[in-house]
Every structure is written in C-alpha cells, then in structure tokens.
Symmetry: C2
C-alpha cells in the first residue's frame, strides 16, 4: 500500500485503453483495469479520478501547450500565424502517440457520453485560444473567429493523422489543413 | 382532451422560456409550464417530448434549412460561397426571433447539460454541412474545413446578433463575420 510503482500511470492508461477497445468503455471496471496493469484499485485512484479521466487527462496538457504557444508567438505575427505556431507546438506533443490516439478515438466514437466530453474539451480550447489572442491585442470578432479556425484545423488535421495507414507526421498534416482552410476561405 | 388549442406549441414555448428565465431550467416542471400557458400537461407532451426539447426543437429545422440551402446553391459556386448562401438562408429563419433567441441563450449558458446539448447540435450541423458539400463534389479535407468554417461563422455571428443592444440584422452580422474570417485566414 502506497508503494511506488514504476510508471504506474502509463501502465494504467495502456491497460484501460486495451480493455475499452476489447470490451467497450461501459463494460470495463476500474478493478479490471488495475488487475490488467498488475496494480491495485487504490493505485488507480491515486492517478485518475475515474475511468473516464484516463481518456481525458491529456486534454488539459494539450490546451495549456496550445494556448501558451499562441500567446508566446512572435509579437509581429498575425493572429492566424500565431495559431500556426500553436498547431506546430501541439504536433510535437502528439508525435509518438499515434497508436494511443487511434485507439482512444475509436473508444470515444463508440460512446455518446464520451463524444460529448470531447466536444466540450474542444469548445473549451476554442474559448481559451480566443482569450490568448485577445491577450495579444486581437479584437473581436477576429479573436473568436481565428480561435475557431484554429480548432477546426486541429480537428480536421487530427482526424486525418489518425486515419488507418496514414503515415505522414501530424505537423505536416496540420500545416496542410491550415493551408487548405486558407484556400477554401479564399474561395478556391 | 384532445381539444385543439390555438397556437398551443408557441404558447408552451413562450411559457417555458419565461419560467426557465425566472427560476432556472432545473427548477421548472412541465406542470408549471402547462399552467402558465393555460394548457394541460397532456397538451405539453403532445408537442414536446420533455422540457429540454422546448429549447432544441428548432435545431432540426435550422440544420435542415442550412444544409438544403448549401446543397441547392448555384452549381458553379465555390464551397465557401455555397456556405454563404446557407448563412443567408438561416438568417431569414431567425429574423423575428431575436428576443426568444436571447432568452434561450441565457438559459442555456446557465446550465452545463444544456450547453453540452448545444455543442452536440453544432457538431451535428458541421457533419451534415460537410456531407452536403461532398454531395456537391467537394473533396476532403476541403469539405470538412469549409463546413467547420461555416459553423464557426454561424456561432460567432449568432453570438454577436444576440448581444444586448445589438440592432443590426443577422444577415448583415453573418456576412460581416464571414468577411472577417476571410480576412483573418488571409493573415490580416
């Protein structure tokens, strides 16, 4: 009890995702996750509030990194270029997590409640990014529209990145998606 | 019983929104809504499945109109211009509903569950719009990005339209928001 387990958090996340994928999110218990990871339920609850949090623990980190990168972009950068800096930064965060991201996405798409949670996280990200842009002196509605555009690029780029057989890196796909957004809004 | 009541649906919606505004969504019962409207609970349930549906019954109509307008836009129109046709069409739908929209928005912002429902409706709208664009021969990721851009403009334009003291029409605000999105994505 209270014993330190090497990488308990990562082992729990891996075990949880395996079980959610095999038998569904609803059908998996915390006891089963702990057992699969070779740990106790007590250890599980030291790392995660509940079994849903295993899937969303990374969202806070993602938002923080995205927002900080936008806020810290070169002062002279146009709002959309600050957003591009943010998209590059989050791409680094995901670089070696494609398999986890794919499995996680499949689990979320199979469960309405988890999909809602994912939408809330994206809406919260858009609000935080608009805030960061206003902090850079961008006025409304430009700040909100740029933030929404950034989240749209992130969402579409992310969905391409996790497609089966897709091997191109996230940074490249995000840049292509941003370029494509610029093209479509320009009427091409 | 079964008696036809003139404009029962509208009276119920008005009564429900008044009560949600006065005492909160959670604290309002269907019995109270019916009483305020001078109707029976039975009549309420002939028009709405539950008290939440009073707030979201219009979402289906909105999405259908938006999608149809995009699908039916002139064949030669670029994707973003088809989206502009859709935004004009939905603006007509809202024209004389600003007070209702303002009150509804305040109720939704005060309740987490209703906010989630609203996000789901917007996500569903984006998916349906992307589908309509693919039906026009637009390829991916352009279709999804244009649809997300359209929903972003709708969201930001709508929030401006319901701001206190805002008197400009929705069509104008939607057009301005679209122009602003074009400007920000062009790096201005």
């Amino acid at each position: 009890m209270g014993r330190w387990e090497p990488n308990a958090r990562g082992r729990l996340a891996k075990a949880a995702l395996e079980l959610y994928s095999e038998r569904g999110f609803e059908q998996t218990t915390v006891a089963e996750i702990a057992r699969r990871a070779g740990l106790t339920e007590r250890t599980f609850f030291r790392h995660y509030a509940d079994k849903r949090e295993v899937l969303f623990a990374g969202s806070g980190e993602l938002q923080e990194l995205f927002v900080r990168a936008v806020a810290d972009a070169p002062k002279a950068a146009a709002p959309i270029d600050a957003m591009a800096v943010g998209l590059d930064a989050v791409s680094q965060l995901f670089a070696d997590r494609r398999d986890f991201a794919r499995a996680r996405h499949a689990v979320i798409m199979a469960n309405a409640e988890l999909q809602e949670r994912e939408l809330i996280k994206l809406a919260s990200m858009a609000a935080a990014l608009a805030d960061a842009l206003r902090g850079r002196g961008v006025t409304e509605p430009a700040a909100s529209l740029t933030a929404e555009a950034g989240v749209a690029v992130f969402k579409v780029g992310f969905e391409r990145w996790i497609m089966a057989a897709e091997e191109r890196g996230m940074e490249r796909l995000m840049r292509e998606s941003l370029a494509e957004l610029k093209a479509v809004t320009a009427g091409r």
